[in-house]
């Protein structure tokens, strides 16, 4: 009798004091850690990590584990293998990442077959979210900035003519289409469209800019991929004396990416951009975000729109984890995301329940010198911008006929 009581007591105690093991949620991250996208991968990765650091209490009692795979290049093939292995070998609960649109496009069939939530943290081609019902995007679509800028150019900047220069690949063509549509709808006219080389290598922009300068427009709208292209654009604009010729340089915020902005120096002054995020945004979440970033990664570093794509993406994932109590089944996850709102460093954001794309503010900013550094001053704002391409079902954004 006593033996039985002792046995039961021991078992009860054992069960009682068993350590509460944190439930693990595996997030599979597909980013180009090596190759030309390495620095962008680092920005998104750091954004994700920083969210977890700053909001550790929101994650409890779950433990987020990252399983990272290098997709190496934008060609698509490696991304497919990486995603396939994350799903079948590592059995991740959620997928995340995708810097380059071709990789996101290539991964779509596998994401659909794998039936896991996939959070796109950068790739910007508009129709990507249509390619799989499990894609959710926390970054942006080229149409967010492009369409808004077209409207703002005609109404706020009072411009009548514009020349568009764009890097000849789908995000560039998207940007051109978006800007042209809204600019001309608001009374402006695009007088020349100049494809400026490919995304693979930074060309010498001088001949393209010379051509734009000769056309004498009010505005020169430029879209190039963020990074080295943008720095070269700003340099060439200054070197050709286009500002003195009365041509304003405008574009989506890719050309004034925070991580490159200071290096451009005074040449960047006067640039007008439209974007959903830059590090100089004045709201309490962003102040906290930037301060924490500098403390964690160095006072000379700065977050940018890619970092915030990772940050907000992580916020989304944590929300889903909490809502579904760690058991992430994709249809329930999509339900949990309908109407999800979040106070992001970029302002209030929401996931569109129909398109699964992001809805956010767009800020019109001008680059000025302040306290010895280049500062982006917000001169206009549009709230709650949706992706106009899918909203108006333009071209490839129209949902595929079943």
């Amino acid at each position: 009798m006593i033996k039985r009581i002792i046995a039961i007591t021991i078992i009860a105690l054992a069960l009682g004091v068993a350590p509460a093991r944190a439930q693990e949620v595996k997030v599979g991250v597909a980013l180009p850690y090596t190759g030309i996208g390495a620095e962008f991968a680092q920005l998104v990765d750091r954004g994700m990590e920083l969210y977890l650091k700053l909001n550790a209490d929101k994650v409890k009692p779950y433990k987020i584990t990252f399983i990272r795979r290098d997709v190496k290049d934008p060609s698509g093939a490696n991304a497919k293998i990486a995603v396939q292995e994350l799903l079948t070998q590592d059995n991740v609960d959620v997928l995340a990442g995708w810097i380059y649109s071709p990789n996101a496009i290539a991964s779509a069939p596998i994401v659909s077959a794998g039936k896991k939530l996939a959070v796109i943290m950068n790739a910007g081609t508009a129709h990507i979210t249509n390619l799989s019902p499990y894609y959710v995007r926390t970054s942006f679509s080229m149409w967010h900035a492009g369409y808004a800028l077209g409207e703002a150019s005609a109404k706020i900047l009072q411009a009548k003519t514009a020349v568009v220069g764009y890097t000849d690949f789908p995000p560039g063509k998207d940007s051109l289409a978006a800007f042209k549509r809204s600019f001309e709808a608001s009374g402006g006219k695009v007088i020349d469209e100049i494809p400026m080389g490919s995304a693979g290598a930074v060309p010498d922009f001088t001949p393209f800019f010379q051509r734009a300068k000769d056309k004498k427009p009010d505005l020169f709208f430029v879209f190039v991929p963020a990074g080295d292209h943008a720095a070269a654009v700003v340099k060439t604009y200054a070197a050709l004396g286009m500002r003195d010729a009365g041509i304003k340089l405008i574009g989506p915020g890719d050309i004034t990416q925070d991580t490159k902005l200071q290096a451009m120096g005074s040449a960047a002054v006067g640039l007008i951009t439209m974007h959903h995020y830059h590090a100089d945004l004045d709201n309490p979440e962003n102040k906290r975000f930037v301060e924490a970033w500098k403390k964690e990664y160095g006072a000379n570093t700065t977050p940018d729109f890619m970092a915030v794509g990772g940050y907000d993406g992580m916020a989304l994932i944590v929300h889903v984890v909490q809502a579904l109590k760690g058991k992430i089944e994709v249809d329930a996850a999509l339900q949990a995301l309908k109407g999800w709102k979040f106070a992001s460093p970029r302002g209030p954001i929401m996931i569109d329940p129909v398109t699964r794309d992001i809805v956010m503010n767009e800020y019109l900013s001008e680059a000025v010198m302040k306290d010895g550094r280049v500062f982006q001053k917000v001169i206009g704002k549009i709230d709650g911008v949706k992706d106009a391409c899918k909203e108006q079902k333009i071209g490839p954004c129209a949902p595929a006929p079943k």
Partner: protein
């Protein structure tokens, strides 16, 4: 006193020559391994499929580089031609049967190979290298410009490929069908290439590679042989590209890029060219390293790979198989013939 006349059929040299193309026991090893891989590592079949396609592609390069001695940096032109043939036909709903699709891919690639070979193979050395490179780059630009047909930078995605033999579906998440399909095609192509290089045609190619002047002197139609070899190699590269498009249900400009062409050249030289099996060895070595190094230490696999290439180049003439051959010769010196 004259020695007894030896029947020339039984002369050791003749026996050696006649038997050189006989299938040796160890030649079954790569195929056995490939099948074993299928059963042992069902979760790595995506990687395995990509590996087998790379072997096929490297094999096509071995034909033109290892046997005919043509150094080309533009082999991806044919790979891409095959891939886009399959891709464009499938995307537009014109044709999506896999096996006939491969035949079409081979034909298109061979046509391009024939055309470009006739024009380019008048030159040699650096000039030929640059010409092959520029031809491929031109093709890539053309594909980019014709983006209404080729999908441009984004490529053509979600290709609807019909099930193999009407029954076996290509599953993107569990590529069992793809793996076995590629293995079968690789086997067929390998048998073709092997028979070719041991035929009189193949031997004449070796002759052309070793001593073109003498081949001219013996009256061999040198240029015709070279162009034919180039076209055949293009056909096989086209098959590799076509099957890549089918297995991935996707095609984009990366199939035509310098990256792909340079990688396959490295793979072949790494494994050892002129040996047929160098393609296998090189592809396995390169892709295994690239795949697994990048998993452990994503930011530094390029350093390790570069170091390996340098070491092999300095100390192993003709790649890994070259090392194996040298070692084998030391262990078992060739018997002297009387």
């Amino acid at each position: 006193m004259t020695p007894a006349a030896v029947d020339w059929h039984e002369h050791p040299a003749a026996v050696a020559l006649a038997g050189r193309h006989r299938v040796r026991a160890w030649e079954a090893i790569p195929w056995v391994l490939a099948l074993a891989f299928f059963f042992a590592f069902p979760k790595y079949l995506g990687f395995g499929t990509e590996l087998l396609i790379t072997v096929l592609f490297a094999l096509s390069l071995d034909l033109v580089l290892g046997y005919a001695g043509i150094v080309t940096l533009g082999q991806a032109a044919f790979f891409g031609a095959g891939a886009y043939t399959v891709g464009m036909l499938a995307k537009r709903g014109i044709w999506n049967e896999p096996i006939t699709g491969l035949i079409l891919a081979a034909v298109v690639a061979a046509a391009i190979g024939l055309g470009s070979g006739l024009v380019l193979l008048r030159t040699q050395g650096l000039t030929l290298l640059m010409l092959t490179l520029c031809t491929m780059a031109l093709l890539e630009e053309a594909a980019n410009l014709a983006h209404d047909y080729t999908g441009g930078f984004d490529g053509l995605d979600s290709l609807p490929i019909a099930p193999l033999l009407g029954r076996f579906e290509f599953n993107p998440l569990y590529p069992t069908t793809q793996y076995l399909y590629v293995l079968a095609v690789l086997f067929v192509c390998f048998v073709f290439v092997r028979t070719l290089v041991y035929s009189p045609f193949g031997q004449s190619l070796t002759g052309i590679r070793e001593n073109t002047l003498r081949m001219h002197a013996v009256g061999a139609p040198v240029r015709r042989r070279l162009v034919l070899c180039y076209a055949l190699s293009a056909a096989i590269a086209g098959v590799a590209g076509g099957i890549w498009a089918q297995a991935n249900a996707y095609v984009n400009l990366g199939t035509l890029g310098l990256d792909r062409a340079a990688t396959v050249l490295i793979i072949l030289v790494l494994g050892g060219y002129g040996h047929l099996y160098g393609a296998f060895v090189g592809a396995v070595a390169y892709m295994a390293l690239s795949h697994f190094l990048s998993k452990i230490y994503p930011t530094a696999w390029q350093l390790g790979l570069g170091l390996l290439l340098v070491v092999i180049a300095l100390f192993a003439r003709n790649g890994i198989l070259g090392i194996v051959e040298a070692a084998a010769r030391r262990i078992r010196p060739p018997r002297a013939t009387p």
